[in-house]
Symmetry: C2
Subunit: 170 residues, 2 copies
DNA sequence: CCATGTGAAGATCTTCACAGCG
DNA sequence: CGCTGTGAAGATCTTCACATGG
């Protein structure tokens, strides 16, 4: 596993140890036992409904991406504020009016959101999501989103990642 | 700046201090002076040519995304191995045969690459990029890419980011 | 008095080294 | 002897607290 992931073996052992002792000293980890334990720890098998806001380039790519379902994520609700997009479908998911978002999120009890709108509207969208009960947000807008401590936000900024890489060129 | 970014103010001061003393004690930072210094540190204004491989959902989204040029990145070369895509254009950039990549990269002295191919071919693409002189790679394929120490790789896996968010739901 | 700059302290993350056990 | 599990050491990152100087 260390070789495959590039992660130090003692790091892997330590990470496992936080959740229990899955192996036998002197012997190794049982293939089946370990995978079962890890699946449970990572809640694999469980399905997560997700709401996505902003059907632009990145939003559309995420909607079409088939890799999420394998990992247990299902983009169930999609919103935009563009009237020319509302009502149309992308990969069989209907784009709804963002005005309806808060209610829809509550009705369907969705607590994971993805923001792929321009920076200007990202904060407002985030507040609406949080108002609808979302507690975890993946944000692609290049802006820091203010949020209460009980909400967690991950920020992916591809340009920033490129800039970090440029740094290492020297 | 602390309020806007959500970063502790002493962290910001310390970060600045690694590159010099940009402010005056008791007074503050001069707006112009600080921005100029930071631009230089971050090499803003400089343009970076980038090669992208894999014109699928994410690759296409990145090609169409207008935000890169503002940050100094220009996707100059695009490659794929799909004959139905080679020769066509996305946003005025011609998709080229991946077989030509190594030579093109050398000719144009490009040292930043973006990988948006399926996991199966990512390692091979990375080796070809490195062979062509690329020293920084942004990888979207869900796989750890082996690479020599002089090459730096950033891995963006959107499903993993979602999984991390799920963790915080509990 | 105020805001920067920075050693020191504190927190966190990673690696080492070896005890424990089959 | 080999591989796991883990305390301790080491490295790194973040925050504190205050000296410094306008």
């Amino acid at each position: 596993m260390s070789e495959i992931t590039g992660i130090n073996s003692s790091q892997i052992r330590k990470d496992f140890s936080y959740f229990g002792a899955f192996g036998k000293r002197g012997v190794g980890y049982p293939l089946f036992g370990l995978t079962e334990q890890l699946k449970e720890v990572m809640r694999a098998g469980q399905k997560w409904d997700v709401a996505l806001v902003g059907v632009g380039n990145i939003g559309t790519a995420l909607l079409r991406y088939k890799g999420f379902s394998k990992r247990g994520f299902n983009i169930k609700l999609v919103f935009d504020n563009d009237v020319s997009k509302i009502g149309t479908k992308v990969d069989n998911i209907k784009i709804q009016d963002i005005q309806k978002m808060e209610k829809c999120l509550k009705d369907q009890k969705i607590n994971i959101g993805i923001i792929t709108v321009p920076a200007e509207s990202a904060q407002e969208v985030a507040y609406k999501m949080i108002g609808g009960g979302v507690r975890s947000i993946l944000n692609f807008a290049p802006i820091n989103i203010k949020h209460p401590p009980e909400v967690s936000i991950k920020h992916i900024d591809i340009a920033i990642e490129l800039e970090k890489l440029v740094y290492y060129l020297f």
